[in-house]
């Protein structure tokens, strides 16, 4: 209960930063922070393995990937971003707030299921066994998916053989 | 399972020709002739190996893609392969055509194979109509100046006839529940079709016999246009004359035979119940066809039109024999003579007409397109070999014994005279007139003093000699040994006879 109470505001704060920061790199870094905090929350809740995975994959891979992508691409115009924010914020909130309202309503008032408290303990052995027995097809499918993604991403990201007409700008 | 494949060999060849860019017209022709030879060999092999092939297509409606090759089909398939080969060779020799031309000829060949082997109306009719498109294109695109009009007429007339035929067969499908030729033949021999028609079309208030007569007439119309029988022949002279000469060979040698074949395979076995009623009409139309063809040929000055009319005349004999079979009730030996005569006449006329048109093609090539009766003269002195070989074809055409034309005519008249003596006796005048106009052609083109403009003509080249020699062999051998053809056809003919008049 206590780690939750501590971590929740931090997570929200970091997430807000990720959404609000005008400079893309800052936003990305705030995202990394958010993900890391969520990982800590997992650890605190007893899901050690998931937390570690979250760390490794999200913080270590995805966030870093995003940062690199930002470095490769030309960042947009910051001033324009700030200038145009109020207008886009209005429409964004117009959509977001009803969603938040519904979700929050459900979260606060809708969870009337009867819970039986326990000491959650994630057994890595059991997890592994399940992964390679009953969930083996899913793992295999995932493996194929990841392979395809790897090849596809490499293909997409590859510099084209023949430079386009805009290559003269380089 | 060879039967369906030899049908597709020319089609595959046509597709290959269509997609292979950049080969010369001559190579295209060679390739087409190779396809033709391969299908000929496969057909010959198929005679021994496999006779039947069937694929249920819409079993609920009794529709099957059923093909079968008996002796009768085999002779016609053989004729298709031979005449196509000759037409392709003649085109090559004439320097006519390109890739598309040869591809269309091969498509036509494929469809003709289908027509002569299909045993169910649906695949048969598909092939029957499929012959029309390549033939139309061949006349339209490679023909003379009047070709577009002639081709359109050909197309419209035959298509119109087919439409009636389709309606007739739909009526049979609705009432008898099948369009399979053999099944219909069996039903017909039990006299069941008229009853079925009467039941299905009770709302018309007509008797089964009347209905069946109407259906038979509809089918007859489709066949009559194709053969053609007077008065549905008017498309023929212009189409034959305007088409490029090798295509004319295909038209007269093969397309007209479709009608004759269908008469034997469909018309006689399916409608025996109304044949006696229709026989007088058929007989006198046949006599009219014979006489009109011969007399009109007498008045022609265009060699191609003359031979075209002579084809009308020769096919008239086939119709005469078929009419005799229709009229007969019991004279089995006369009927078998008539049917054998039809088969032989159809086969031999295909070959002979090809030879005659090859000769005209040679005349046309040498004279740069002239083919008038009076454009030539005295060629025998200049081109003795050509004259000799062409003369053999001419004499075969007028029924000289020892050459193939005679046997068919003898059997036809033998059968027809026993059943319908008056009609046969009148038709004999046709035989006489054939001699008159053919010999007049020989005299005007080959005999008499040599025209000075023809003094530089060369005799046949080696290739032309080979082509003509091949045709002359095909003319001479069945003339002396008709058994080579009858050996194949006779079992089928006996079968047909049994079907026509079931032994009680």
């Amino acid at each position: 209960m206590i780690p939750l109470l501590i971590l929740a505001p931090l997570i929200l704060l970091a997430a807000f930063g990720a959404v609000w920061m005008a400079r893309p790199v800052h936003a990305a870094l705030m995202l990394a922070l958010t993900l890391a905090l969520v990982a800590v929350l997992y650890l605190a809740l007893g899901a050690d393995f998931i937390g570690l995975v979250q760390f490794a994959v999200y913080v270590g891979a995805v966030a870093v990937l995003i940062v690199f992508s930002l470095l490769i691409t030309r960042p947009g115009d910051e001033a324009e971003e700030i200038e145009r924010r109020p207008r886009s914020l209005v429409t964004g909130l117009f959509c977001t707030l009803p969603v938040l309202a519904v979700l929050a309503y459900t979260a606060v008032f809708g969870s009337n299921i009867k819970l039986i408290p326990w000491q959650p303990k994630l057994s890595i052995a059991e997890l592994g066994e399940m992964l390679f027995t009953s969930h083996a097809p899913a793992v295999l499918a995932l493996a194929v998916l990841l392979t395809a993604v790897m090849i596809g991403a490499a293909l997409f990201a590859r510099e084209p053989d023949k430079p386009q007409d805009d290559s003269s700008e380089k | 399972m060879l039967l369906p494949y030899f049908i597709f060999v020319p089609l595959i060849g046509a597709i290959l020709l269509a997609i292979s860019r950049g080969i010369s017209a001559k190579d295209a022709g060679r390739f087409a002739s190779v396809c033709s030879i391969v299908s000929l060999m496969l057909a010959g092999y198929g005679w021994d190996a496999i006779r039947e092939w069937s694929l249920p297509w819409m079993p609920d409606a009794n529709i099957a893609l059923r093909f079968e090759m008996d002796g009768l089909s085999f002779l016609f398939v053989l004729l298709v392969a031979l005449v196509t080969l000759v037409a392709i060779s003649a085109s090559i020799l004439k320097g006519k055509g390109d890739r598309a031309y040869f591809a269309l000829i091969l498509v036509l060949q494929s469809a003709l194979f289908g027509v002569f082997t299909a045993r169910h109306f649906i695949p048969w009719f598909l092939c029957w109509e499929m012959t029309l498109i390549p033939a139309w294109l061949l006349i339209r695109l490679w023909g003379g100046s009047g070709a577009p009009k002639a081709a359109l007429r050909f197309f419209i007339m035959t298509l119109g006839g087919s439409a009636f035929m389709l309606v007739g067969f739909l009526a049979l499908q609705l009432s008898a529940g099948t369009m399979d030729f053999d099944a219909l033949g069996k039903l017909a021999s039990q006299g069941a079709i008229a009853d079925a028609l009467a039941k299905s079309f009770a709302f018309t208030g007509m008797t089964g016999h009347t209905l069946l007569t109407l259906v038979a007439l509809a089918v007859f119309l489709g066949l009559a246009v194709k053969i053609p029988i007077v008065p549905f022949h008017a498309w023929l002279p212009s189409a034959y004359a305007e088409a490029p000469t090798p295509v004319t060979m295909l038209l007269t040698g093969l397309l007209s035979k479709m009608g004759v074949y269908a008469m034997l395979r469909i018309f006689l076995p399916v409608f025996p119940e109304v044949l006696p009623a229709l026989a007088p009409l058929l007989t006198w139309l046949a006599v009219a066809t014979v006489l009109l063809g011969a007399v009109a040929a007498l008045a022609q000055t265009d060699l191609k039109r003359m031979i075209a009319y002579s084809s009308v005349n020769h096919l008239g004999y086939c119709v005469l024999a078929i009419a005799a079979v229709a009229a007969s009730t019991s004279d089995r030996s006369a009927m078998s003579s008539a049917i054998s005569g039809v088969v032989l006449q159809a086969f031999n006329h295909g070959i002979i007409a090809s030879a005659l048109f090859s000769g005209i093609a040679i005349l046309e090539t040498r004279s740069r397109g002239q083919r008038g009766l009076n454009d030539f003269g005295g060629l025998r002195a200049q081109t003795p070999v050509f004259c000799g070989l062409f003369g053999i074809a001419v004499f075969a055409s007028l029924g000289m014994p020892g050459l193939s034309g005679f046997i068919g005519e003898f059997l036809i008249f033998n059968g027809a005279f026993a059943i319908t003596p008056a009609a046969a006796a009148i038709s004999v005048i046709g035989l006489l007139l054939t001699a008159v106009f053919l010999l007049r052609m020989m005299r005007k083109v080959f005999w008499g003093p040599l025209k000075p403009s023809l003094a530089k003509w060369q005799d046949l080249t080696r290739d032309e000699k080979m082509l003509f020699g091949f045709l002359v062999l095909l003319i001479a051998i069945p003339g002396i040994f008709p058994q080579v053809l009858l050996h194949f056809a006779n079992p089928a003919i006996v079968e047909l006879l049994d079907l026509l008049r079931p032994i009680p």
């Binding site: 997430a15 995202l31 809740l45 707030l97 979700l103 | -």
Partner: protein
């Protein structure tokens, strides 16, 4: 307020924030950031239900690992998605020299 409700509220807000990012940020990469946030919100829910409800009480035969398993798969798929998404964005960038979504309107009617 039960811990579960708190967790769910947290994830709701996180989801809304992600959605806001998706809808308002003009940089395509930052839209991807929003999507990651929304995915994480979903993952939080899985873990929450796993952590605050005993599976034994529901007579489960198998070990109660559905939540973590789903999270595992979700993380893997999210990684894949991020990789492909970023690759696409890179390609778009190479074409248009921009990652500004407002400029990518060739589907405009």
């Amino acid at each position: 307020m039960t811990p579960l409700a708190m967790m769910l509220t947290l994830s709701s807000v996180l989801f809304a924030l992600g959605l806001l990012a998706v809808l308002t940020r003009r940089n395509a990469i930052l839209v991807l950031v929003g999507i990651e946030l929304m995915l994480n919100a979903a993952n939080l829910n899985f873990i929450a239900f796993w952590a605050f409800d005993s599976p034994a009480a529901h007579n489960a035969v198998e070990p109660a690992l559905s939540g973590p398993l789903f999270v595992m798969f979700a993380i893997a798929i999210a990684a894949a998605e991020a990789a492909v998404g970023l690759a696409i964005i890179l390609m778009v960038f190479r074409h248009t020299r921009s990652t500004d979504l407002n400029k990518l309107d060739s589907l405009h009617g």
